[in-house]
Symmetry: C2
Subunit: 224 residues, 2 copies
Amino acid sequence: MKTRDKIVQASLELFNKHGERNISTNHISAHLNMSPGNLYYHFRNKEDIIRSIFTLYESDIIKDFKPYLTQEVNSELLLNYFDTLFNILWNYRFLYNNLADILSRDEVLKVRYRQTQEQVLSRSNYIIAQLKDDGVLIIDESEIAPLADTLKLMTSFWVSYKLTQSKSPIGSISKASLYEGVLRVLLILKTYAAPNSITTFDKLKEHYQEQVTSSIQPEDEIKE
Amino acid sequence: MKTRDKIVQASLELFNKHGERNISTNHISAHLNMSPGNLYYHFRNKEDIIRSIFTLYESDIIKDFKPYLTQEVNSELLLNYFDTLFNILWNYRFLYNNLADILSRDEVLKVRYRQTQEQVLSRSNYIIAQLKDDGVLIIDESEIAPLADTLKLMTSFWVSYKLTQSKSPIGSISKASLYEGVLRVLLILKTYAAPNSITTFDKLKEHYQEQVTSSIQPEDEIKE
DNA sequence: GTCTATAATAAGATAGAC
DNA sequence: GTCTATCTTATTATAGAC
């Protein structure tokens, strides 16, 4: 692995664990047993590192969050979809965990962020419209955009929301919490489900409820 | 106004405007034409100021977010309810704007925050149960808790969400955006509306849609 | 490419005079 | 209660040797 990539990976890891504002460039280089000078040989500054991480996030989102192209919309398809999305948000949780602050310090990143989000939103709209056309959902045309936006908000901030409520001082949550988020999205979507797609939603719900149960981590059981 | 209160008010104002991490104690005292020493005479440290602001937020929330006690659940009642809640969140937006970071630096505050949120959640649950009992909503018992939690997430992060999407570099949003948030909450609640309460929801929707239209600020029209 | 040493800045916080 | 002056510390970042 190239030094540059090592720095990006270590930064991502530390940012997620402790929060971006609590990790200095010195922390990063120390974590890698590397001199600060070396870090600054590879990156102009901390902002530059964050932007590099954002590039990874961007490409993950754009690569995996695509309108479905197969004909059949079954539960497997939707399942895979949500799974992927929530996992990406988990992998880059430091970002949403501190979004306003990070964007307030970097105008360029703010513009990039907004552009990515517009793409995500437009794809979400398209997907919901597809689900409507395919008879999976019954929804008024005028409600598609608000629904897409609501689901985006929920998905984006789910991890942050759970983290602020977790009792563990480390500030980590378990996979179970991620799956709870998926269940929450399903609950909203289901209120728009067409009669003959209810079973699809029920199957999905069942699947994720199993995941929640089976992936509960010890840290969830910590009592004060 | 006492100096202590002046400091709290100025801090809240500056935190909301620029973000808590971008405002130092020196900024606050300079804004008040006051010496840093004087500020530190009234507060032990910055953490102490933030805790004082949190106390105000806490009391606003606890005071205004109460299960309704009148018999009649009409649109005026619900309207007042949401209005109040969204306005509180607007007044203390710096908090949710940077929640994870702020809580990560103050274990005591994190505990207080969690306790407040548990109260809010338990009250939300109670209110939804009341609405069910009064025949306003039709909802399965098992879905009350997830619904309450979902609405809480949406309400809490709505302002932050809109701020990250706004184009204005100042990072401010208009009242119109707040009312949009209320509309979004209504849209979710409406999917559970009992047939004879649909008109209530429609009236509410109409009211807030008017608010959105009439309160659009010039800054919303800024083009790049 | 990588290291050591160090400069520059800014934030948080205190001492002591008035 | 309030001010001025100042200290400490952490963070970002650079210079110059290897």
